[in-house]
């Protein structure tokens, strides 16, 4: 076990975990940040997506020892009041069914829109395709990402 200092949602944390511990489990088991979800553990579904300095990354395969001073943003820190344009769009479109995948979907969408604020429908599908939704809310996810892009100034 070793000591790691992490910056998550603009807060400083210190954890004592093995170097190979994926960030996902540090967030959930050590820091009480359970918004980031476990579903596959092998980077195949996107439920664990967080931002590492604005880049969307799969926290289930990101060892805590590789993070260093990078800023981590989780779903809990995406906005102060749940009012990030993506979160707003998700509510307007009423995207979710069970909701378990949606934090990861939102984080993926937010990172994508930061890079490409006016994506075409095809670019949205390309960008979101790696996130699984077992309940089948894909039509609404696509609609919500496109709606969010109109809200981003």
């Amino acid at each position: 076990m070793a000591n790691y200092k992490l910056q998550v949602n603009n807060k400083n944390y210190e954890v004592d975990v093995d170097s190979d511990t994926p960030l996902l489990w540090v967030l959930r088991d050590n820091l009480g940040l359970i918004g980031t979800k476990y579903s596959c553990g092998i980077s195949q579904c996107g439920a664990c997506t967080v931002h590492l300095n604005d880049e969307a990354v799969r926290s289930c395969v990101l060892p805590v020892s590789s993070i260093g001073e990078a800023k981590i943003t989780t779903i809990e820190g995406l906005s102060d009041n749940g009012d990030h344009p993506v979160q707003q769009a998700w509510k307007e479109v009423d995207v979710a069914q069970c909701g378990y995948c949606q934090a990861g979907q939102i984080m993926t969408a937010a990172a994508m829109l930061k890079k490409n604020p006016s994506p075409s429908e095809e670019e949205v599908i390309d960008g979101m395709n790696a996130n699984l939704c077992r309940c089948g809310t894909y039509h609404r996810i696509k609609e919500a990402v496109l709606l969010a892009s109109t809200k981003i100034k």
């Binding site: 476990y38 378990y100 949606q102 309940c135």
Partner: protein, 706 residues
């Protein structure tokens, strides 16, 4: 600042909030609302602040009864939806009947109860107002949380105290459907805020003081535990213990990751139980053995099929096979149990909380009343969480270790852990006479732990003179369970594809063929009819209209209609050639589920059911080697993705009948509609699932594979 006089002589002062900074509007917290709310019945409480707390009893897994149930209560209570706060109820078998999520049954079961709950409370509020105003109840009205007498308004909040003490009326008048203000309007999911900001909602999000994590290594199907060497596993930091119970080896510790690492270091030996360890080749042989044995049990027999087939001018025969399937909800199995001296605390995702409680009570040798069961939101269910196996595991461990335990299944545990949709094979046969008329119909279904692999009373039974339906199952150690639209999730595809083939052989349009059969069932039924012919015709004719059936150029259409779980769905799938490749472009779905409570939720269930049906028909596969699934995670167990979905257009029949359920009915017809469209566009008949493994699919490009 505007000043206006009210009709009653008081002053009504309006403030422009942005122009002045006092008085501040008091923001009432939810905590305060819950704290002060006065209880009326199992379903609702009213706070003096005029907010209504509505309790949602059934487990919520994405079907959104957590929104639609409260909508019904709020409707009959006659309140403003913005004043409603919804709370998930714990298991309480005294207050609630059937706290189960399964069989698409919640809405049909509770519709009247929910309406009664809202209506009786409304009546009691009116009685209280009548007393206070000293006027007859009959002269009062309600509107959005107010009881109104002429120009006088008393809100529910101020009446709640008195009203709650009044006797509960036995019979109250319910609203007319035409007067609904909330039901039938799109109401957003009550948990949106929580879900989209990462609040703890799911079983996997439960953490309690002094809790230990647990993960379990389970045996292959058909094997039992022989020995375990846990020395290396125990050396992992964070691992507290390794224990065994039944054939399970459980690793216990302070966090999930240490356990995941420790498991890989376990040295476990298993030995076979009694029979040959099963692999897919064995299953395939077994299927054909059973189909050819003639030993399948007759489930329904009308007329004389033997004579019909003997006299047939032509026989059409097709076989259809599907694999075992995992439910794979996005939230893997998990559960929290704290076994104490003489009580048990359970928290977690279950579709059958009463069953979970009883299982815990039995394991601990205490009365069920001593077991509390808190329902978390479920990250998907699909039937998997009808079982209590993961609950029992958590309880066994907590009892053994004498600490609170949170049991987590990894995705690999989940996919390889059984409780599957059964693998099934069908043999359909149709006999035509010299005039290409249908004179006989046979179905033989064989399944692995399928129970009855057929639904013998479904259409087209009742519409065909000579019909025989048989079923046989093989008892495999591979465990199976109800999987969204059990049996019909594959049977419907096979049947609707076969009817397409028969229609073609008869030279008939597939829709005309269905309608003719339905007319026969209506005018001269053969035996018992267990489906509503008019409702089935209704969705068919509407689907024809909405899809422009038979009228479009450059588009190949496939049709399917199915009745399951009390509701009817007809679908038309459209495929076309784009850049030389066949593409599945669009599917129309017409649903009759009676009154649609929440249109946004209903649309979700239809889309979700269709993508579920389609995705599994096209991609998902489980093969077995020596009692273990070959596919362990989403890299090899393929679920449908955004690039692979067609456009979907949903329509609902407006017939005003009591709601009949919607969690499952849209799934069964999907495979057939898709396969029939693919046949039209490519000439390839798809008979086995997943379609992506079929030879005929190799030349097709349905969406872009991930």
């Amino acid at each position: 600042m505007k000043i206006a006089a009210t009709a009653g002589g008081g002053l009504l002062i309006g403030f422009n909030w942005s122009a002045c900074d006092s008085p501040k509007m008091k923001v009432i917290s939810n905590e305060e609302i819950y704290d002060k709310a006065i209880n009326f019945n199992s379903f609702l409480s009213i706070s003096p602040t005029n907010h209504v707390v509505i309790f949602s009893p059934n487990p919520e897994l994405g079907q959104n009864i957590k929104t639609s149930f409260p909508m019904i209560v709020a409707e009959e209570l006659d309140v403003d939806w913005s004043n409603v706060r919804v709370q998930q109820a714990f298991l309480d078998t005294e207050k609630y009947d059937r706290q189960v999520t399964g069989g698409s049954g919640a809405m049909p079961h509770s519709w009247q109860r929910l309406r009664q709950a809202g209506a009786t409370a409304r009546h009691m509020l009116m009685e209280a107002a009548a007393k206070r105003l000293n006027v007859p109840v009959s002269e009062l009205k309600t509107d959005k949380g107010n009881v109104i007498y002429g120009s006088k308004k008393l809100n529910y909040g101020e009446l709640a105290n008195e009203a709650a003490t009044l006797p509960v009326p036995e019979d109250v008048e319910l609203k007319q459907v035409k007067d609904f203000k909330i039901i039938g309007t799109p109401v957003k999911n009550v948990d949106n805020d929580a879900m989209f900001t990462g609040k703890p909602l799911y079983g996997l999000d439960v953490y309690r003081d002094n809790m230990l994590h647990a993960m379990i290594q389970r045996p292959p199907f058909g094997m039992k535990l022989k020995s375990v060497d846990a020395d290396e596993a125990k050396k992992i930091k964070g691992v507290k213990d390794v224990v065994t119970f039944k054939d399970n080896v459980a690793v216990i510790g302070e966090g999930t990751w240490p356990l995941m690492k420790a498991r890989k270091l376990l040295k476990i030996a298993y030995e076979p139980l009694d029979k040959e360890l099963e692999s897919t080749a064995f299953h395939n042989r077994k299927f054909d053995e059973m189909l050819n044995s003639g030993a399948a049990e007759v489930k329904r027999k009308d007329g004389d099929v033997d004579a019909a087939f003997k006299n047939a001018a032509r026989i059409i025969k097709s076989e259809y096979q599907c694999p075992f399937l995992s439910h794979s909800p996005m939230e893997p199995m998990n559960f929290f149990a704290h076994v104490k001296e003489d009580s048990v605390e359970l928290i977690g995702p279950s579709q059958t909380p009463d069953r979970a409680r009883n299982a815990a009570a039995e394991i601990c040798g205490i009365a069920p009343e001593k077991v509390s069961m808190e329902l978390t939101r479920l990250g998907g269910g699909f039937g998997r969480r009808l079982r209590a196996d993961f609950v029992e595991e958590a309880v066994e461990l907590s009892k053994m270790l004498k600490v609170p335990v949170k049991l987590t299944w990894s995705r690999e545990d989940d996919i390889t852990g059984g409780a599957y949709r059964p693998a099934v094979k069908y043999r359909f046969e149709a006999a035509l006479n010299g005039k290409d008329e249908l004179i006989g119909y046979k179905l033989s279904g064989v399944g692995m732990n399928s129970g009855n692999s057929t639904r013998e009373n479904n259409f087209p039974a009742g519409a065909i003179e000579n019909l025989e339906i048989r079923s046989m199952e093989y008892k495999s150690p591979i465990t199976t369970n109800a999987w969204r639209a059990p049996i019909t999730n594959f049977l419907a595809f096979a049947e609707q594809s076969f009817l397409d083939e028969v229609a073609e052989a008869m030279g008939k349009d597939p829709v005309d063929f269905r309608l003719e059969l339905l007319d026969k069932a209506k005018t001269s039924p053969v035996g018992e009819i267990h489906y509503d012919i008019d409702r089935m015709k209704g969705v068919i004719t509407t689907a024809v209209e909405k899809s422009g059936w038979g009228k479009k150029q450059g588009v190949s259409q496939g049709f399917s209609v199915y009745f399951s779980h009390r509701s009817y769905v007809a679908q038309v799938a459209e495929a076309k050639i784009v850049d030389g490749k066949a593409v599945l472009d669009k599917i129309y779905a017409v649903t009759d589920c009676g009154i649609v409570i929440n249109p946004t939720g209903a649309d979700q269930q239809v889309r979700g059911g269709m993508l579920d049906g389609m995705g599994h028909a096209m991609y998902a596969n489980l093969t077995f080697t020596d009692g273990v699934a070959d596919q362990k995670n989403f890299d090899t167990y393929r679920l449908i993705r955004m690039k692979e979905i067609p456009e979907i257009e949903t329509h609902f029949i407006d017939n005003g009948i009591d709601p009949t359920g919607l969690g499952e009915p849209a799934l069964p017809p999907t495979g057939g509609a898709v396969a029939n469209a693919i046949y039209k566009v490519s000439g390839q008949r798809l008979r086995n699932q997943p379609f992506s493994n079929e030879e005929g699919m190799k030349n097709l490009n349905l969406g872009n594979p991930a």
